[in-house]
């Protein structure tokens, strides 16, 4: 140690230029200055050139009347709404397809990933084929496959395929009855919440009891009874307030009920299938990353294979799986911008329309970039928190 310190101090006495520490600070400051100057120069030039070319600039346009309609909107929107609201509608549509897609992709991915390690030859091979097919096709093609190949060839609205429970499938999408909640139906939701809370409480107590005494308690059946039974009881008590609005044939389309449009459906299915292939590989790698000794030790303790997977292997595999899973979630969210090819009104599509109707390209692109950045950072934040929670706690 002593000799190293001497070596490091020696040259710094000569001049500042040779001091690595000062040199390091100098270069870092230089980079920051250049970066700031570069950004300032570009911003200045943009403003300058926009003024010179007499193109309107600034973000005031967001308050203007949009004037165009959007096919799918989770919030109230009409052509009288503002451009800002149109972008918000797009943002919400992106978030919806991302969240639903992430959940589905994770479920499919885990099933396929575990399936690839199955003892059963057929299951193993089917899962391998799934992964190899979807992983090696560009996501845009997968979207087109669902949109043009599967959903567009369904029959026209007049010859809709009738499905159970009054739902229909045709080339305009999937229609199912919409629940209409009558008076007093709040009681059902309250009962559901109470049921969930009680189930959680029961599970906690059962766990504590098992830890203390080793006795088990039928948590699953109790929870199921609480979560399903309480709302059913409330439903009966409040006088059966639930009715359904069934889709019906009209001049052009089916009306009434709830419509899931083919644009959403194909984007959702494509993103889920595509990303699931990657998640499956991550899950497989995670499980293979848990040493075989763990499984053997658990087996030696007398655990059954299901319990080994659930209690020993998966919790450890999760620590390996979560960080790469975050990248896949980000990829799925960003890939959702491919929606533009099939006309799903996501952020890229609506912000692009706003960009074109107002002609304010620079602002439009900046808004899109900032929003995607924010979504991605938020996803990372949540996943990092989850990762920290799942990480091995060393005592």
């Amino acid at each position: 140690m002593a000799s190293q310190e001497v070596l490091r101090e020696e040259p710094s006495r000569g001049s500042f230029i040779n001091d690595p520490k000062i040199r390091g600070i100098f270069f870092q400051v230089l980079v920051v200055v250049l970066l700031v100057a570069g950004v300032w120069w570009i911003a200045h030039n943009v403003i300058d050139n926009l003024t010179r070319l007499r193109i309107a600039s600034g973000f005031g346009f967001l308050k203007g009347r949009a004037g165009f309609d959007i096919s799918e909107s989770a919030i109230a929107y009409s052509s009288d709404s503002t451009y800002g609201r149109a972008i918000l509608v797009g943002l919400i549509n992106t978030v919806i397809v991302a969240i639903v897609g992430i959940i589905t992709a994770t479920i499919i991915g885990f099933v396929i990933g575990i399936g690839r390690l199955s003892q059963n030859w057929l299951i193993r091979k089917i899962c391998t084929v799934y992964v190899e097919v979807f992983r090696n096709i560009p996501p845009l093609l997968v979207i087109f496959f669902w949109y043009s190949g599967v959903l567009a060839v369904l029959p026209a609205p007049r010859d809709s395929i009738g499905l159970p429970f009054g739902s229909f499938l045709n080339q305009r999408g999937f229609y199912f009855p919409r629940a209409v909640w009558g008076d007093g139906s709040w009681l059902i939701f309250v009962a559901l919440l109470v049921g969930i809370a009680m189930a959680w409480f029961v599970a906690r107590r059962a766990r504590q009891r098992q830890m203390a005494t080793g006795q088990q308690f039928p948590v699953f059946w109790t929870s199921a009874a609480l979560i399903v039974g309480l709302p059913l009881l409330a439903y009966a008590l409040s006088g059966f307030p639930l009715s359904f609005d069934y889709p019906k044939q009209s001049t052009f389309n089916l009306t009434g009920g709830f419509q899931v449009r083919p644009e959403f459906l194909s984007l959702y299915l494509a993103l889920s299938c595509y990303t699931a292939a990657f998640i499956a590989e991550i899950v497989r790698a995670g499980i293979r990353g848990v040493s075989a000794g763990q499984t053997e030790a658990a087996g030696a303790l007398g655990l059954r294979s299901g319990s080994i997977l659930r209690l020993v292997v998966v919790p450890q595999a999760m620590r390996i799986v979560i960080p790469p899973l975050t990248s896949q979630y980000l990829n799925l969210t960003k890939n959702s911008s491919l929606a533009i090819a099939i006309g799903y009104p996501d952020l890229t599509a609506t912000a692009g329309t706003v960009l074109n109707q107002t002609g304010q390209a620079v602002e439009g692109v900046v808004i899109m970039m900032v929003i995607y950045l924010a979504i991605s950072l938020l996803t990372s934040l949540v996943m990092n928190w989850f990762n920290a929670k799942m990480a091995l706690v060393e005592r």
């Binding site: 570009i42 911003a43 030039n45 943009v46 300058d48 050139n49 926009l50 010179r52 070319l53 007499r54 193109i55 309107a56 004037g67 165009f68 309609d69 959007i70 096919s71 009409s78 052509s79 043009s148 567009a152 026209a156 080339q171 305009r172 009209s250 001049t251 052009f252 389309n253 009306t255 083919p262 911008s337 491919l338 533009i340 090819a341 099939i342 006309g343 009104p345 890229t348 599509a349 692009g352 329309t353 960009l355 074109n356 109707q357 107002t358 002609g359 304010q360 390209a361 620079v362 439009g364 692109v365 900046v366 899109m368």
Partner: protein, 342 residues
């Protein structure tokens, strides 16, 4: 994705362009030796590549006319196909010199977008097309409540559609695509009941569908769509060249100057014809504009007069067979009118 790329490209160009005033468009065009012309990605009659890959249509021919005025050679044009969303950014950033892409002239585009429309090369209006075989009994746009309507995003069409259904208290499902081909495919596949765009466009698109005879264009015209070429603001010389090319096409038709007779017309006894064709002694009309004095001769030799251009591309000489209607000259009861060339 492409419009984003162009958007970013545009933003980057705007960001990196030196802040010194850019050179006059005429000088840059002359220096590179051709005109970069922004056209559609393929709309029959206006701008669409033929089986040899040459761009045909009124909009494409208009760019040839400008090239003929500037270079004396109508072939000195390069075409850039643009989607509705890309078109303005491409012109603003200087990627193209003229936007000649069935684009509607509106006040917003003249002011906030920094463009200058030079005139109306085609007076159009928005219409609706339906598949009459699948929807018998529908013969008016007012019966379309509840229909799914295919429309291209980022167009005035999209805005008129919303206004029309709102004003008539009707409901509709917009099915919106970025590219014309995607809208065509969706309509052909039956994803929507109705196709809406400029009526001239509907006639052109109908020809490309699986069975054109099944489709009818409804009688209603719900908007004014004056289509014309546009240039960037701030370059009056270029603006004048493009604008007067358009007027020269009209003037040639009015005076009966055609592609076939332009050479003999040079010796006409009429002082007006001689003046327009640059045969007046010591004329400065052409050179004052920034082109040669026989610019009108070059234009007519390249593409003919306005009437010839119309009939060849969308009228009786084309599969579209659209009547002149309000696009006839003012002398024949239409709206096409040119100020005097003198």
């Amino acid at each position: 994705m492409k419009h984003i790329a162009i958007g970013i490209l545009g933003a980057a160009t705007l960001g990196l362009m030196a802040s010194a005033a850019s050179a006059a468009t005429l000088d840059t065009v002359k220096a590179k030796g051709f005109i970069q012309c922004g056209v559609s990605t393929g709309l029959a009659g206006f701008s669409a590549p033929d089986d040899k890959g040459d761009w045909q249509g009124i909009d494409a021919d208009f760019c040839r006319a400008v090239a003929a005025a500037v270079f004396g050679d109508g072939s000195k044009v390069k075409f850039t196909p643009l989607s509705a969303k890309e078109r303005f950014t491409a012109l603003q950033s200087g990627e193209i010199d003229i936007l000649s892409r069935n684009t509607t002239w509106t006040i917003n585009r003249d002011t906030a977008l920094g463009l200058n429309f030079i005139g109306v090369t085609y007076y159009d209006g928005q219409g609706f097309m339906i598949n009459a075989k699948k929807l018998p009994g529908v013969n008016s746009a007012l019966q379309l409540s509840g229909a799914a309507v295919c429309v291209q995003s980022g167009t005035t069409t999209e805005l008129n559609l919303a206004d029309y259904f709102k004003a008539n208290k009707m409901e509709y499902n917009p099915v919106v695509f970025e590219k014309l081909e995607e809208v065509n495919a969706a309509y052909d596949a039956g994803r929507c009941d109705v196709y809406t765009t400029d009526q001239s466009g509907l006639y052109g698109i109908r020809l490309t569908l699986g069975s054109p005879a099944d489709h009818v264009v409804l009688p209603e015209i719900i908007s004014k769509e004056p289509l014309g070429p546009a240039v960037r603001q701030g370059d009056d010389q270029w603006y004048h060249i493009v604008k007067w090319t358009y007027f020269a096409l009209l003037q040639a038709e009015e005076l009966g100057i055609t592609k076939a007779n332009v050479d003999e017309m040079k010796n006409s006894a009429s002082p007006e014809i001689k003046r327009v064709l640059g045969q007046e002694a010591d004329t400065k009309i052409g050179t004052d504009l920034g082109v040669s004095n026989d610019w009108v001769v070059n234009i007519v030799k390249a593409v003919g007069n306005y009437g010839e251009m119309f009939e060849r591309n969308v009228g009786s000489g084309s599969p579209l067979k659209i009547a002149r209607g309000i696009n006839a000259l003012w002398t024949k009861g239409g709206l096409q009118y040119a100020p005097p060339i003198r």
